[in-house]
Symmetry: C2
Subunit: 349 residues, 2 copies
């Protein structure tokens, strides 16, 4: 791959997880083989990658080539279209790694009409990065990653509810890294009640995602530490009107939905700027997410144990039995050993 | 490693080979876990990495943490010291990956005196990147990489001078990539005479380094294509005064040195802004470079052939015989197979 296009993709990856419902994009401006500007889209509503890189390049953008991880945008959102800025800057050539299939009018065409040479160098790496984004955007829901920590026999706890074995330090660090790359985390009321978790990122300098709790029936009393630790907002979804009357600190927002289906919650989250969601929950909520077919990435940490019992806390349980051709299908993207746990990352097929 | 510090090192790597006698440096500004600015030092005399990143961050730099691949500078060069800019921007904390041992007054101390929290998170990866730079800087010579393409028995050609087997396409592409990451290439008069090489980078969008030719005796007639192809400057080093009178195009600069020793040439190159040099030459010049002890990186491409003969063109030949404890010592940094050639990258011990 062209190394400048590779650089643009690297820059996009740096900003992954902090661009809300916008895609993470990176860009490099090259003049006579010299990098003269580089940038990334850093936050929803702020300057796009191309604009950052062109601003850094200044006058040197005249006659230069711009490399972008994603086809330049053509719409007036919170910022003007990037194609305009590229044309105004006097760019001679645009190279991009992935088509923006969500654009009404393709940036490629507009740039070419303006006499700019445009090259679409399709990159598998960029496609992988944007595939989930486009799918989520077309459905107005966040990109969803479901994480489960289980025994080798697929259980999150023993039949009596013991699950302390999940606190493996290496896995914890890895989970913190994942949390920090998402706009929000979600868990169920059961986990809040049982574990009293803080759901924060304990890594220096890292960002704290919004914490989302699904409490359909409204069983929580809002006394747990998560509701008054002053760390980062907590959004609680419920179908129980009475929750609105419960006293709570101002870090908590109670959101009443008539039907707290996974799909409805996801759509509401998306409309509130959540572009990526990391789900860490018990078997009940995990199973609901898997059944919703909205999980694009599934991460399983297998601890080297077999728990047995009746399997009360298997991570995937359903009332109805689907035939083998109807069950959720995944493909393995990666597998590694972390601190004596096997981490398997899977992507929805 | 902290991922923001990793990002800063990645940014430095993007600019490697285009910063002349300055180090390649990358920087990321992080506020509450969000990347709010990123930058790299892109060219000697232009804005430093910290300044680029702080400019991108704007007001958001107030109270933020800045991650830098190298300790921030304290001297007035072509730009004011970065420590001043960091202090003025209201940065709360500085994290850097490698100490700048060439600074008269350490940036770390100045920043701490200004009440900024400073953390030196030493990174092996950054040390590897800057070690050669500091060594070269302390000696006022460029970082030198010597590349040879040889048979398994260490010969660049048969005794009769046949060497066409070197034109392996995969190796060629790899060589182009290396060329583009250096300020200048160097070869000997013999190679120019025998091969009529262009010594350019045939990769789209890449930069053309300066071409340096060592012609001590002044045997070249300056008619070869390299002297009038209008591609990129040619600097010819010679001890022969008469070369100054030879007609040549304006892309050629004749540099007369009383003593064209490798050390003298390297110092002159450094004073002309060449911070990194890639040497591709015949056995004569290659051997001189190896004997000079100025080669920090040695890259050997072994073709799967044995040439035999008397070894007239072995890549390393010396008049005097050194004992085994005095010969140049290297350590293997990497080894890979490229298009049926074995590429071995070595670093001076």
């Amino acid at each position: 791959m062209n190394r400048f296009l590779q650089n643009a993709i690297q820059l996009a990856k740096m900003a992954e997880g902090q661009t809300g419902v916008n895609p993470a994009v990176g860009s490099v401006v090259v003049k006579d083989g010299w990098i003269v500007g580089l940038g990334a889209h850093l936050k929803q509503g702020e300057r796009h990658a191309e604009v950052q890189a062109l601003d850094m390049a200044g006058d040197q953008a005249q006659g230069a080539t711009i490399y972008v991880s994603l086809e330049p945008c053509t719409h007036f959102g919170s910022t003007p279209p990037c194609v305009n800025k590229i044309i105004e800057a006097g760019i001679k050539k645009v190279v991009y790694a992935m088509k923006d299939i969500s654009l009404d009018s393709p940036g490629d065409d507009i740039l070419q009409s303006a006499g700019i040479e445009v090259e679409y160098q399709h990159q598998a790496q960029a496609e992988l990065m944007y595939k989930d984004f486009f799918k989520a955007k077309s459905e107005n829901i966040p990109e969803v990653t479901l994480k489960v920590s289980v025994s080798l026999d697929g259980k999150q706890a023993t039949d009596t509810g013991q699950s302390q074995w999940i606190t493996n330090p290496g896995v914890k660090q890895d989970v913190f890294k994942h949390r920090a790359r998402h706009d929000a985390l979600l868990t169920g009321a059961g986990t809040v009640q049982a574990d009293n978790p803080s759901l924060t990122v304990r890594l220096e300098g890292e960002r704290q995602p919004v914490r989302v709790i699904l409490d359909r029936s409204g069983r929580l009393n809002l006394q747990q530490q998560i509701f008054h630790d002053q760390q980062t907002p907590v959004w609680l979804y419920t179908e129980n009107k009475e929750m609105l009357n419960k006293e709570h600190s101002n870090q908590v927002k109670i959101i009443l939905l008539e039907d707290c289906s996974i799909k409805n919650i996801l759509q509401d989250l998306y409309h509130n700027g959540i572009g990526s969601l990391y789900v860490e929950a018990g078997p009940n909520v995990s199973s609901q997410f898997l059944q919703s077919e909205c999980v694009q990435t599934l991460i399983i940490y297998y601890a080297p144990k077999v728990i047995g019992g009746s399997g009360k806390y298997q991570f995937y349980q359903t009332d109805n039995v689907l035939s083998l051709d109807k069950i959720p299908q995944f493909e393995i993207a990666n597998s590694e050993i972390i601190d004596q746990n096997i981490k398997v990352s899977l992507r929805k097929k």
